[in-house]
């Protein structure tokens, strides 16, 4: 019973190391931090669904920080940024509506295969 009621404490070296990896990916590549944050949270004992949601809360401020740095350094002009972001927001709404109708494990296998293909194409 004690095990069930005991509150888990997050933090320590593991979380700090995960934070460094998440921050490095997000800062250097402008994405991919979530792919590290979700498994790190799961390993720390956060249930899968909560881990996905909590990862968004971790990545959002990072995206704002690095986005501001990239913008200040002139990596992107507003004439490029605005139409792309408009597409992302409309697409995001469409995607979340579509999600209810698809099977998740096949979808994620397809997604990882695409990731590997894109990664190989970019690095070779």
């Amino acid at each position: 019973m004690e095990i069930l009621t005991k509150k888990r404490k997050y933090g320590g070296i593991f979380s700090a190391a995960a934070g460094v990896a998440v921050g490095a990916a997000n800062g250097l590549f402008g994405g991919g931090g979530g792919m590290i944050a979700v498994p790190a949270l799961t390993l720390a004992g956060v249930p899968a669904k909560k881990a996905h949601a909590t990862a968004v809360a971790i990545i959002a401020p990072l995206a704002a920080i690095s986005g501001a740095v990239y913008l200040a350094k002139g990596a992107v002009s507003p004439s490029v940024l605005l139409p792309a972001c408009a597409g992302i927001i409309v697409g995001g709404i469409a995607g979340s509506l579509l999600l209810k109708k698809t099977s998740s494990s096949r979808l994620s296998a397809l997604f990882y295969a695409l990731m590997i293909a894109a990664g190989l194409k970019l690095s070779l």
Binding site: N26, I36, K50, A57, K73, G87, L107, G119
Partner: protein, 147 residues
Amino acid sequence: MNTLVLITIGFAGGVLGGMGLGGGTLLIPLMTMFAHIPQKTAAAINLMGFVPMAAAALVVHAKNGLLQKDAIAPIALPAGAVCALFSLLACGSDDRALSRAFGIFLAVLGIFMLLKEALSSLKAKATLVLLAAMRRDLVAAARQKMI
């Protein structure tokens, strides 16, 4: 740069992101490979596009009680500091080198995730086989007792 192409690519990346498939991990290669947008520009677009989407999603997640609040700061605080530093580093780096490094990162992460997925489905199958075997043993033992 063609506005329509930018909207279309943003839309495609947004759909993936909305489906919870880590939008940025595919949106960035979509932009660099198909629209020949430089890596840093693609990164900036992904980052700025993520903020409003995340804000909207977080409102819903918070309402549904899906946020593990005490797990956020221990990761987000060191991540924020490192992130600012690495963003500055990226802005001073060569686009081609960054894109290559991102490609390696994607491929390694993809292989790791695919293996993890395969392992967990294998584990589930093994558990089922084990349970079926145990059930057979129990039934056999019960029959023997009855005789």
